[in-house]
Amino acid sequence: MTDKNLYCYAGIFDTPDQIINAAKKVQSDGYTKYDVNTPYPIHGMDSAMDLKPSLLPYVALVVGFLGAASALFFMWWTNSVDYPLIIGGKPFFALPAYIPITFEITVLSASIMTVVTMLFVIFKFPNNSHPLHDTDYLKQVSVNKYGIVILADDPKFDESNIKQVFASLGASQVFPIFYHEEVINFKPRIFEPKFIWFLIILFVLVSGSTYITLNKLMFLPPYNWMMKQNKVIVQEKSEFFKNGKGMRMPVEGTVARGFLPYEFVNKPELAAKDLLNPLLPTKYNLELGKTKYNIYCSPCHGYHAEGDSRLRGQFPNPPSLHSEKVRSWSDGRIFHVITEGQNVMPSYSSQLSREERWAVILYVRALQRSLNAKESDLP
């Protein structure tokens, strides 16, 4: 008896009726540390043992709500905050479309957590060893017998008394069960370093391999063929062509689509004489001219063409466009300046189309007239 401790006294019964009576008797005798083992759940045993209803459904309720809330939050965050996208004309937070996934996550999280709680809290997982394991008692109650055990640490535990009670209830066998202290560990093993290390290693392995698979492996050859394709990309080198460039030059004399040569290059006088404004000062043309003037011209010339640059001296101020000289210029002369540039003013032919240049001229004329209005201009 040096290495063996008494765990309990066990009684084995042959019929379900006997075990119900035994449980009722043991309960009414005031024992608290006892247990009934049956090969399948017996109706009425919970009330015979006076057990309180299981609290596990509340775990399912709480985790289910949390799962639903976090699923909804996650979908709202991804689709409304992190990367807002309008899909199928739906709002960013499309509740009806989110219901299916919310439901699935609710069920998944609640099911998993209820079972995990049962395993860890009720079954005391990872404690897998128990004094009853491998005993003759358990081998009988797992097949066709019904057993009851009263634990030795019950305050009312008394060997002779229990033997007598079990026998009077009709037990077919009554015997004690012993255990070895070094084999059985009653302390919760969930906090043992071994188990915690196991969880940590499992976590690192699963998350690490998932990360590597999804974020690294899928971008390594051969899975990167969408990125690396056998084609020439603009501005890339090519050893196939003599000039070492991947891009080809257009055939000599090629005219770009829509290109019209300017025939008054370096001929301002001729431009002033021969070029006529094809646009009428309609509302549309003036609006167009105003928009383009305000974008491209006003930074230097100012919103009112007074040469009041907004550039604060970073670029030389141009003269006012209200001067006698500019006012007397023909539209063609101004067109020439916009097209060719003049002094430090660069050409604006790439920013403004021909039509836009003429519209800007119309707007400049309107500005000039506004500052030098005659009496007859008043309505």
Binding site: P41, I42, T114, H133, V143, F219
Partner: protein, 455 residues
């Protein structure tokens, strides 16, 4: 006690076996070496599986062009097979969860096996969306995770709902199945003689010792899981039907789809479970556990769901006519009398006409006839998915893009391979785990529950 009492229900387990006999009978396939017949069956399923693996290998090497999918029919066999196999799984959850909630004790004999079939069917179904995306190694993109593109999946898409529904369904079915296995694994542990078996059973029975303080929580968890699995199983095929119903294609865009799909899934699943159980009860001598009464009840569910499916077929025609939408009307006339009329009439005869024979009690209780009818039901249900998927796509709004879908050899190989995959798992299951729940069947045999004298 000795007089016949007609107020009593038909016994679920016939012949009053003792608890010990139940134990021995259910554990026997696990203790004995498999016989020759098992190896022959395994050889057949593995050959089918190999054919499927060859088909998949060709598809991966040469690309999805090996399939019959063409331009209007982008959803060919893979989607047909996916819907078919997910549907097969539904019977298992219906038996184990819904019939549990309805206190149908006759389910105890067949629940474990049907749940196992659910898991294998969902595994089989899971192959098809993965191969249908064309580059299965990119399947990770189906899951929302913080990726290098800073992109998330589209939570408004039914295809993403499907990912969540099917994976949740698999996970919850597996948990439900495993929780049911724990007491049985403990029973097997306590009778195991070999050291390896004992270690394995000890590990997976999680220290179970049949304690009533555990049974109390265990039964509650089982109830909670059944309560979750019930709406889940309805949601899964509903969401599968959304894949179709949310599209605007005539023949798909229909609000009848969710109940219609769920009924069809239960219908085909029960037929498959019934087929396999007929073999199981014969081979393992479970005739008194999986009784003819159980099969009779299953056939009643087949006729119920079959009639629901038949009603849906009729109602689809009515809705098409009543809606006044021309493309919709054309689609249904085209289904019944167009180039796929052969498939349509196979579907109608197998799903609507033959199951009606189950109105006769003699046919419901005749094993050869019920077997043949259930096989036809599965043929019909496969063709139902084919008709829905292919006929609608092959002739949509734009007549200039119409095309006829013809499956290729590779399509057929993958279809046969899916059956091989499924039945290989079923065969391995019969030899590695108890196919009938020992604890559940013990709790319903005669004299298992206390009489509560005087109550």
């Amino acid at each position: 006690m000795n007089t016949v009492d007609y107020t009593q229900e038909v016994p679920i387990v016939e012949g009053r076996p003792t608890l010990q006999e139940i134990n021995e009978l259910i554990a026997k396939p696990l203790d004995t070496k498999p016989d020759k017949k098992f190896y022959i069956a395994l050889a057949v399923t593995l050959s089918m599986l190999t054919l499927g693996v060859i088909g998949l290998g060709l598809s991966f090497y040469y690309g999805t062009g090996m399939w019959g999918n063409n331009n209007p029919v982008g959803w060919g066999f893979p989607i047909v097979n996916f819907v078919f196999w997910v549907g097969i799984g539904h019977a298992g959850t219906l038996i184990s969860a819904i019939l549990f909630l309805f206190r149908q004790k006759w389910r105890n004999g067949i629940a474990r096996f049907a749940e196992g079939m659910t898991i294998f069917a969902v595994m089989t179904a899971g192959i098809f969306p993965l191969i249908h995306i064309g580059r299965p190694w990119l399947a990770g993109y189906l899951i929302p995770y913080p990726n290098q593109h800073s992109l998330w999946v589209d939570f408004n898409s039914p295809l993403v709902w499907d990912v969540f529904a099917v994976s949740t369904y698999f996970a919850v079915s597996f948990i439900f199945w495993y929780v049911g296995l724990i007491p049985d694994l403990a029973t097997l542990r306590d009778r195991a003689t070999s050291k390896i078996k004992k270690t394995v059973y000890s590990l997976f029975s999680l220290g179970w010792r049949h304690s009533n303080r555990h049974w109390q929580h265990y039964e509650m968890v089982y109830l909670v899981l059944a309560g979750f699995a019930t709406p889940l199983v309805l949601s899964v095929h509903t969401i599968v039907s959304f894949d179709f119903a949310v599209a605007i294609l005539p023949g798909w865009h229909s609000t009848i789809f969710p109940p219609y799909f769920v009924a069809g899934a239960v219908f085909s699943g029960f037929a498959m479970v019934q087929n396999v159980l007929i073999f199981i009860r014969k081979i393992f001598n479970y005739e008194h556990i999986i009784t003819i009464n159980t099969l009779d009840r299953m056939n009643k569910i087949i006729i119920l769901t079959g009639s629901m499916v038949g009603y849906a077929y009729a109602m689809e025609f009515f809705t098409a006519w009543y809606s006044g939408v021309q493309p919709e009307q054309f689609t249904f006339i085209n289904r019944a009398f167009g180039p796929y009329a052969w498939a349509y009439w196979i579907m109608v005869s197998c799903n609507v006409l033959f199951p009606q024979l189950f109105w006769f009690k003699k046919i419901r209780r005749s094993i050869p006839i019920m077997f043949i009818i259930a096989v036809l039901v599965n043929v019909g249900m496969w063709f139902e998915r084919f008709v829905i998927t292919v006929t609608s796509l092959s002739r949509d709004y734009l007549p200039s893009s119409w095309a006829y879908f013809k499956p290729t050899f590779v399509d057929m190989a993958i279809l046969i391979g899916s059956f091989g995959f499924f039945f290989t798992w079923v065969l391995l299951f019969t030899k590695s785990l108890p196919v009938v729940s020992i604890a559940e069947i013990k709790s319903v045999i005669h004299g298992a529950q206390p009489t509560h004298e005087g109550h």
